[in-house]
Symmetry: C2
Subunit: 393 residues, 2 copies
Amino acid sequence: MHLPLGFSAAGVACGIKSDPSKLDLALFLSDRPATAAGVFTQNQVVGAPVKVSRSRVPSTTVRGVVLNSGCSNACTGQRGIDDAQWMTAAVAEQVGCQPEDILVCSTGIIGHFLPRQKLAEGIPVVSKSVAAGDDHFLAAARAMMTTDTVPKQAMRKLSLGGKTVTISGACKGAAMIAPNMATMLAVVMTDVRIIPETAQKLLTQAVNTSFNCISVDQHTSTSDTVLFLANGATGITIGDTAMQEFQQALTDVCQELSQKIIRDAEGAEHFVTVDVIGARTSEEAYRMAKSVCDSPLVKTAVAGNDPNWGRIVSAAGYSGVKFFEEECSLAINGIEVYRAGAPTQFDADAVSAAMKTGEVHFVLTFTHGKEQSRCWTCDLTAEYVRLNADYST
Amino acid sequence: MHLPLGFSAAGVACGIKSDPSKLDLALFLSDRPATAAGVFTQNQVVGAPVKVSRSRVPSTTVRGVVLNSGCSNACTGQRGIDDAQWMTAAVAEQVGCQPEDILVCSTGIIGHFLPRQKLAEGIPVVSKSVAAGDDHFLAAARAMMTTDTVPKQAMRKLSLGGKTVTISGACKGAAMIAPNMATMLAVVMTDVRIIPETAQKLLTQAVNTSFNCISVDQHTSTSDTVLFLANGATGITIGDTAMQEFQQALTDVCQELSQKIIRDAEGAEHFVTVDVIGARTSEEAYRMAKSVCDSPLVKTAVAGNDPNWGRIVSAAGYSGVKFFEEECSLAINGIEVYRAGAPTQFDADAVSAAMKTGEVHFVLTFTHGKEQSRCWTCDLTAEYVRLNADYST
């Protein structure tokens, strides 16, 4: 898994996390000014880094993204904003650019101030460590992690104009995940040349069918951020003909990253795909799929490999989308359990056995139209409760 | 805890539940035709008993309500509707009234058909068992229970026109609780005379500040029903002067019942009151309070007595209500932890110790206006997950 041309990265430990051996400071750099686009949390309460980065995109002069884990610098008032701006200035001084050309993300507990002294020591180290190698990309992905158990990266290559172009990204989970027009921290990079308006359009489209379609716990974070950097290092500009192909590759990278978040969700033992098909609009399909993904009762049933399908149908039923039960059918892992508003005679043991594989697939079929949506979630386990009952204390 | 004048009740075991000693069939009767009003789930998927009862109110000729636990008769198609109608006809035959004058509620697992043979044997027994005594009221409340650990009743007395009038009710919980313009099963009775339009207005008002303000798991059930019966047995009619007093007493009964659901919620160890004050509208206050009540991250933090207040503020932040962080402050059990968008210097151990009492109180204060809302929830524990991971299998 490597970086696109002209990008370098590093991840170091600077002591923000209580375990001093854990990486907690990451830097992604471009060797030339890059086009940058971003999508951010729609929460009314947003972290200071979101405020700072949001004000700096779209841009054509971004040189890098600095990220720390262990402290989200959210709900920290003016001091938090000052800290985030200071952090970008400290990186800019090392890199030799304007503070405005560095974007910033922070993740971790809410309501604590950033430890400036530790960052003042760590930023020169991480800035001097950057390199283009795969190990450096991996270290940066590791330094973004909070309760994640594995680093999360994705890459796609395309052949454009006789050259190979690359899209690479890294992200982190693993709870407070229910992105709303945004997501948890992710940085996606490419080496093609794109103007900011196009970059923003491509990113928004990709995020709508990836990060916005996952939910661990329906709690939209204060810090959700996806940044997209395109530095043109291959010399390739995407023409209209390649646009669709590039969009698909970018969406693939975002979907792979977002699915990795679900697979590594706190306490999760099942990966759940929810398809809603035959809906009037894709928005209605999305609302029903999301409602199923957010139901604690559906998610606890999955944890127990329990084909308690009434919870799935009733979760779609309270999503706000109007339907008659006779217009709805449901299959679990390919076995139809509910047809046109009435239960089928299905083998509950067979469905339960299929769920025990850890891969669960619900297909809700409506007779309304031809639109559809796919969302992903995980199960709700006692381990999730244990992890979250004493996160701050 | 006794019934209003002219009402009788009974609860018997007829074998719907797997444990044959458990009460699972309840009947509330009025000795004369009563005014009846109801509020029902807004889920698009509704149980057959909801469809049948909803079509029979408002009414001035209702004689009784039959309820069973152990099977919700929801998602059961036309056969479910036939079964629910048959159930009311079987009771009507015993009581000597029209089937339309009997209302019906069912609670338990979704997607299973009612066991007609068991009900055919149980209905004559429960009909012959009805009496006005407190023990009979209690038995009926017990027969409504599913995973509830205690029966739930409430009563208020008022002096009107020189006579004592009574409002009594019973309800059940204990999960799939996030009523939306409705609630879990509840029957509220009074011995005053009320016309249907007034009864409906009084009930809707009471439910909006009681059952609609609780959430165990944000999963609006297919079976939520609150029925209100007024039989006029005292000969008292509420005049305009007493209306406000009666409304308050009815609201008190509904609030006490709904709070009992939260106190007995599956796996719950904490009772949480969420106040949002200083909002622009009561609807905005309600949306923010409900958003906090529905957050698994807030609820797991409460389970761990963890004053992780960022989760509370950010849950209000994604409720859809617009605000700036500087307009928001938060206190937990009387201790201010967040003031005007920035953290205070508070003693986390003191807040955690206060939470360990099991009574938790969040007050979110905004600078927008004078409207407010109060909602109630419980914590999310590993025990809730355990209970719901294998409910049907």
